[in-house]
């Protein structure tokens, strides 16, 4: 544990302060305030902790000598709920994990169930899901970059990135009828088809996002305050990042080019041409640049995928395991029965266990599902990237200044809905 070297205290000044305090009917028991450590409680209700994260910080002057994150203030018991729900009925709950990128959470969950049940979604659905994942990544990174800049005092960027994110939310609205809690992916397919209107809106968005990201980068990379507050702050060594199971932009900013989209391709990422953005500095600034780079790469992927969406069905034609589309549910007898059976009793995947992870915006979001052959998962474990990333937070905070804390949390980009499950 590092401690600051003791500072010389001017004797007369010290006695003056003590005398002033003693005047006010107070017994002063602290002999030298500068020689004492202080415990500071930050959160769970604090605007810079990005949700209900609580930090207990031990301070020596302004230097953090130890930090203990406390989580669980948003624990809703999703793993318990999953055991008592059918596979389809759990999809809306996945929206509420990482609530900044609900579309990719839906995809991660259905991919795990499909792997378990042995369902292959048709190519059109795979492409649309890929679009969903990348739109979610851009939306989430925009919030992350904006709120990190706001935490260190640059409010303009937040307004700019939220303006861009708004356009994506409008696309979600047309795509699935909801801006926030999308619940769009379905086991074996999707809730509804991608429409030409979405293509038009996304094309417009992609035409503008490059310029907007350039503007944001220009505004921040030439901002002396932003650079000073983020550079060499929150360092996490490559070895520590690996040992603590850190994933996502944090791991890539530490110089590890690990990205599941390239290393273990799911959906149709194998056909896409993109770069894995990395940095080596592993400080808050490097994480910012990795996210900015990833927004550009995601836009690149989106442009490629938009041109390649194949024609065909967006749902697997397996009536016993895949939900029918809404129109036929309302108009046809057989489909209504299937809808009822699938929602209430569930698909019956074989006995077994699988793990499927995707590269979400925060890191690896994975689902371990243990099936006993019934319509409910026997056990569903959510591997949430925010939990693992937060567990490495004390390493990043240690030795930093108290004002660095907000920059470090901003660069870590935790979402408590996901960390607390």
């Amino acid at each position: 544990m590092t401690t600051m070297p003791s500072k010389p205290v001017v004797e007369s000044r010290k006695s003056k302060i003590l005398a002033a305090l003693e005047d006010q009917d107070t017994t002063v028991t602290i002999e030298d305030p500068l020689e004492n450590e202080m415990i500071l409680n930050m959160g769970p209700q604090h605007p810079a902790t990005h949700g209900v994260l609580r930090l207990l910080i031990k301070l020596d002057g302004e230097t953090v000598i130890a930090a203990v994150p406390e989580i669980g203030y948003l624990h809703r018991g999703y793993e318990k709920i999953a055991e008592n729900d059918t596979y389809h009925a759990f999809i809306p709950h996945t929206d509420r994990l990482d609530y900044l990128s609900p579309l990719s959470n839906n995809v991660a969950y259905v991919l795990a169930v499909e792997k378990l049940a042995g369902i292959d979604a048709p190519p059109r659905a795979q492409y649309i899901r890929l679009l969903c994942c990348e739109m979610a990544r851009i939306a989430s990174h925009l919030v992350s970059v904006g709120s990190m800049a706001m935490d260190v005092g640059a409010l303009t960027v937040l307004l700019w990135t939220f303006r861009e994110r708004e356009k994506l939310l409008d696309i979600y609205d047309v795509l699935c009828g909801a801006r926030f809690t999308t619940s769009y992916a379905r086991i074996g397919g999707l809730q509804q088809d991608w429409s030409p209107q979405c293509t038009a809106m996304l094309t417009d968005f992609l035409d503008e996002i490059g310029r907007d990201v350039d503007e944001v980068e220009k505004l921040l990379s030439t901002n002396r305050i932003f650079i000073d507050r983020c550079e060499n702050v929150g360092y996490l060594s490559r070895e520590d990042a690996i040992a603590w199971g850190v994933t996502g932009p944090l791991l890539r900013a530490a110089g590890v080019p690990h990205d599941l989209r390239r290393d273990n391709p799911y959906l149709v990422y194998g056909e896409m041409d993109f770069d894995v953005v990395t940095a080596t500095e592993s400080d808050a600034l490097a994480r910012f640049y990795v996210r900015i780079g990833e927004i550009r790469e995601s836009a690149k992927i989106l442009r490629q995928a938009l041109g390649k969406i194949p024609e065909g069905p967006y749902n697997t034609p397996e009536a016993k395991r895949v939900l029918p589309d809404k129109e036929s549910t309302y108009t046809k007898m057989e489909e209504l029965i299937h809808d009822f059976m699938l929602i209430n009793l569930g698909i019956d995947p074989p006995i077994g266990e699988v793990y499927q992870g995707i590269e979400s915006s925060k890191g690896e979001l994975g689902f371990t599902i243990i099936s006993d052959g019934t319509g409910h998962p026997w056990r569903l474990k959510i591997r949430s990237p925010s939990t693992s990333n937060l567990s490495a937070l004390p390493l990043m905070l240690k030795g930093g200044m108290i004002s660095d804390i907000v920059a470090i949390i901003g660069s870590l980009d935790p979402v408590m809905g996901e960390a607390d499950k």
């Binding site: 989580i71 669980g72 624990h75 018991g77 793993e79 318990k80 709920i81 008592n84 792997k115 378990l116 042995g118 520590d240 690996i242 040992a243 603590w244 199971g245 850190v246 994933t247 590890v256 690990h258 290393d263 273990n264 077994g352 266990e353 699988v354 793990y355 992870g357 690896e364 994975g366 371990t368 243990i370 026997w378 056990r379 474990k381 591997r383 939990t387 693992s388 937060l390 567990s391 490495a392 607390d420 499950k421």
Partner: protein, 160 residues
């Protein structure tokens, strides 16, 4: 890849591996509880396998008479890009598993979560406290005998 992992482990510690299953391409190895740290260290340090990332660790309540609980480790190798699942069986009478925090530091919070949710303790864990539930909570919510609706008055809530 799965054959290589299995072959190397069988050569290293044949008695530690109680079973192996493959389902949908995922390899699951059942490891004897006492040997988990030894096997984990081997898997991390063996040059060709190099399972250097612990992606996940969780408990499972299998609700069966023998070896009621399981602890599941999901490993990943940055070198070979392979996943591997290890499993340890835990008897209800002896809910103690050796910690793997010495092998992967990131196991810390995962083991705390498993302790919180299932009551499985990890010997020599540096900081074994509940992760999600309050410290004075007496139950372990993900056990199958814990009701979905919760237990009345088990959580001390602020008075109205």
């Amino acid at each position: 890849m799965n054959e290589t992992i299995l072959e190397k482990l069988r050569r290293f510690a044949p008695e530690s591996i109680a079973g192996a299953e493959e389902f949908r391409g995922d390899l699951t190895l059942i490891v004897r509880k006492e040997d988990i740290v030894r096997v984990a260290t081997f898997l991390r340090d063996e040059g060709e396998l190099a399972f250097d990332l612990l992606k996940d660790l969780c408990g499972v309540d299998m609700m069966r008479p023998e070896a009621r609980y399981e602890v599941v480790y999901t490993l990943y190798s940055l070198r070979t890009k392979a996943y591997l699942r290890l499993k340890v069986r835990v008897e209800e009478e002896d809910l103690v598993v050796p910690t793997v925090t010495g092998v992967w530091a990131g196991a810390n919070w995962h083991e705390r979560e498993t302790y919180d949710m299932f009551g499985i303790t990890f010997s020599d864990h540096p900081d074994l406290r509940r992760l999600y539930m309050p410290d004075d909570f007496e139950h372990h919510p993900l056990r199958k005998d814990f009701p979905l609706m919760g237990i009345p008055d088990s959580l001390s809530l602020p008075r109205r």
